[in-house]
C-alpha cells in the first residue's frame, strides 16, 4: 500500500511515519504514540487503534492478540481544563494525576 496513506486522521500520521517509528525501536502502540502523536487527537485513537495494531503485527510478525492496545488515561474524553477544575470542592485534578502520584509512591 502507498506509504503516504494516512492512518491517524486526527493527527495526520501516515504509514511511513509509523514504520519509521517502528524502525527506530517502537514496539507497541504507545511507543508510536509518544514518537509521532499518532492517536492523540480528538478521537483518542478510536478510529486508528486496530489499523496501527495491524501495521505493528505485519512489521513484527507477531499475532494480533500479542499487540497491545494504547493505554487509556483520564480524562478519557476531550475535556476543557476549566471543566476539570470548575467546582473546587469536587475538583478532579488530583485524580487526573493519580497515576503519576502512585508512581512516585511506589518508586519511593
Amino acid at each position: 500500500m502507498d506509504k503516504s496513506t494516512i492512518v491517524c486522521k486526527c493527527e495526520e500520521i501516515n504509514i511511513d511515519e509509523i514504520e519509521t517509528a517502528l524502525k527506530a525501536g517502537a514496539c507497541q502502540f504507545d511507543d508510536i504514540k509518544r514518537l509521532t502523536r499518532c492517536g492523540m487527537g480528538p478521537c483518542q485513537s478510536k478510529v486508528c487503534t486496530n489499523m496501527v495494531r495491524e501495521i505493528i503485527a505485519a512489521y513484527t510478525g507477531e499475532p494480533m492478540e500479542h499487540i497491545e492496545y494504547p493505554k487509556n488515561r483520564m480524562p478519557i474524553k476531550i475535556t476543557r481544563l476549566g471543566v476539570l477544575v470548575a467546582n473546587q470542592e469536587t475538583s478532579s485534578v488530583v485524580s487526573v494525576f493519580k497515576e503519576s502520584v502512585s508512581e512516585v509512591d511506589t518508586n519511593g
Partner: protein, 355 residues
C-alpha cells in the same frame, strides 16, 4: 449525586437494564454522552426480526423511542450530555457535562458502552464521501441527508445488506458490494438476499484505492477479473465492530483478548460481573453480538445486580439467570454461535478476585 445503580451508556443494553432495575425499585441513573437515549438504535430503520417476545418486531428507531419513553416514565435519571471521563482515587466515577466535573456515587456500576465501527485502511479512505455504514445510516435515517448518488459498499454482511437496501430505497445507485472473502466463505442465505435485491457482490476483491479532488470520485477495485475503476461519490465501509471498554479500563477491570468477541474484552462471570466486584458489563461492550444478545446480556447483568443488592434472593436469581442464559444461547445460535462459545469459555475461566 448518589444512586444504587449507575449505567454508563444509554443504548439498548443500558436502557434494557435501567428499565428492569427501576421496575424493581432500584434508584438508577444513566450517563449518556449524547443528547438522546437509544444509542445506535436511533438510526436503525430496518425491522429487527428476532427481538425478545415482549418487543415484537419493530425498527430500531421505534425501539429506541419505546425505551426512552418508558425509562423517563419509570423514574430513571437520564443524565444526557454527560460523559464519564475518569475515576476518583476511591473508585467513584467522575462525570463531566461540559461545564463541570463531579463525582457520582453508586453501589453498582454497569458499563454498556457498546461498540465502535472498524474503519478500513486504503489510500483515500480519509476523503469526504468515504464513511462507515453507521455514519451513512445517521445521515440517511436521522439527518435525512442523502450521503451520495453512486455508491459501493465494502464488506458483505447482514449490516451492509440493510444499508444497501436503504440506500437503494432512497434512490442511491448501489454499484456493488466489495468482499475480501471468497463466495464459499459467506453465508449462502445472505448471498441469496443480495441476489434477490439484484445487488452485485464482488468476491475476492478489495478497494485498492479511492481518489478525488475535494470528495471521493473514483475507486479502484482490486480484483483479478474486474480490475476496474468505478466512478462513485460514496464508499460505505462495513468492516465490523469492536467493543468500547475505556470506562472498564479506568475502573481497574482485568482484560483478556478473544478474537471472536471482538478483540480486547473485560473478563466476566456468569452474572457479567467483572474482576472489580461492583462493576458489571453488558451488551456489545461484553462481546460483539446481535441485538437479542445485547438485550439478554443486559437482563442477566441486572439479575446479578439485583441479587447483589439483595432485592432478589439467591434462589430466584439463579432460576432467572438459568432462563436468561438459555435465551442467550438461543439468540446466539447460528450466526453468533462462535460468539457464544467464546463467551462460555470466558465465563468458565472467570474467578472472582479474592478480597
Amino acid at each position: 449525586m448518589e444512586f444504587e445503580l449507575v449505567i454508563i451508556g444509554g443504548g439498548p443494553a443500558g436502557l434494557m437494564a435501567a428499565l428492569t432495575a427501576a421496575e424493581k425499585g432500584v434508584k438508577t441513573a444513566i450517563v449518556e454522552e449524547s443528547f438522546a437515549l437509544g444509542g445506535q438504535l436511533r438510526q436503525q430503520a430496518q425491522v429487527l426480526e428476532n427481538l425478545p417476545k415482549e418487543f415484537g418486531k419493530q425498527s430500531g428507531i421505534a425501539l429506541a423511542k419505546f425505551f426512552s419513553n418508558k425509562v423517563s416514565s419509570i423514574g430513571v435519571t437520564a443524565l444526557l450530555g454527560h460523559t464519564m471521563i475518569g475515576t476518583y482515587r476511591n473508585g467513584t466515577i467522575g462525570v463531566s457535562n461540559g461545564k463541570d466535573t463531579f463525582p457520582i456515587y453508586a453501589k453498582k456500576i454497569l458499563v454498556t458502552t457498546g461498540a465502535a465501527e472498524q474503519a478500513a485502511l486504503f489510500p483515500g479512505w480519509t476523503l469526504p464521501g468515504v464513511m462507515t455504514i453507521g455514519a451513512a445510516q445517521i445521515l440517511l435515517n436521522r439527518e435525512r441527508v442523502l450521503p451520495g448518488k453512486e455508491a459501493v459498499v465494502l464488506g458483505c454482511n447482514s449490516i451492509s445488506y440493510d444499508i444497501a437496501k436503504q440506500l437503494r430505497a432512497c434512490g442511491v445507485n448501489v454499484q456493488g458490494i466489495i468482499e475480501k472473502k471468497s463466495i464459499d466463505e459467506i453465508d449462502k442465505e445472505l448471498i441469496e438476499k443480495f441476489e434477490s435485491e439484484n445487488i452485485e457482490v464482488f468476491f475476492h476483491s478489495n478497494i485498492e484505492k479511492a481518489a478525488g479532488k475535494q470528495h471521493v470520485e473514483k475507486v479502484w477495485i482490486d480484483n483479478d477479473v474486474l480490475k476496474k475503476e468505478r466512478e462513485i461519490d460514496l464508499v460505505c465501509i462495513s468492516n465490523g465492530l469492536y467493543p468500547v471498554t475505556e470506562p472498564l479500563e479506568l475502573l481497574d477491570c482485568e482484560f483478556t483478548y478473544i478474537e471472536n468477541l471482538g478483540g480486547r474484552i473485560p473478563k466476566y462471570g456468569s452474572s457479567f460481573t467483572t474482576s472489580n466486584s461492583s462493576v458489571y458489563v453488558a451488551g456489545n461492550a461484553a462481546g460483539i453480538t446481535c441485538i437479542e444478545g445485547i438485550l439478554v446480556t443486559a437482563s442477566i447483568a441486572v439479575t446479578g445486580i439485583l441479587e447483589d443488592l439483595a432485592i432478589l434472593n439467591n434462589i430466584e436469581a439463579k432460576k432467572q439467570k438459568e432462563i436468561l442464559w438459555t435465551e442467550l444461547l438461543k439468540a446466539e445460535t447460528g450466526r453468533y454461535s462462535k460468539v457464544h462459545d467464546a463467551r462460555i469459555s470466558l465465563v468458565n475461566d472467570f474467578l472472582p478476585k479474592e478480597i
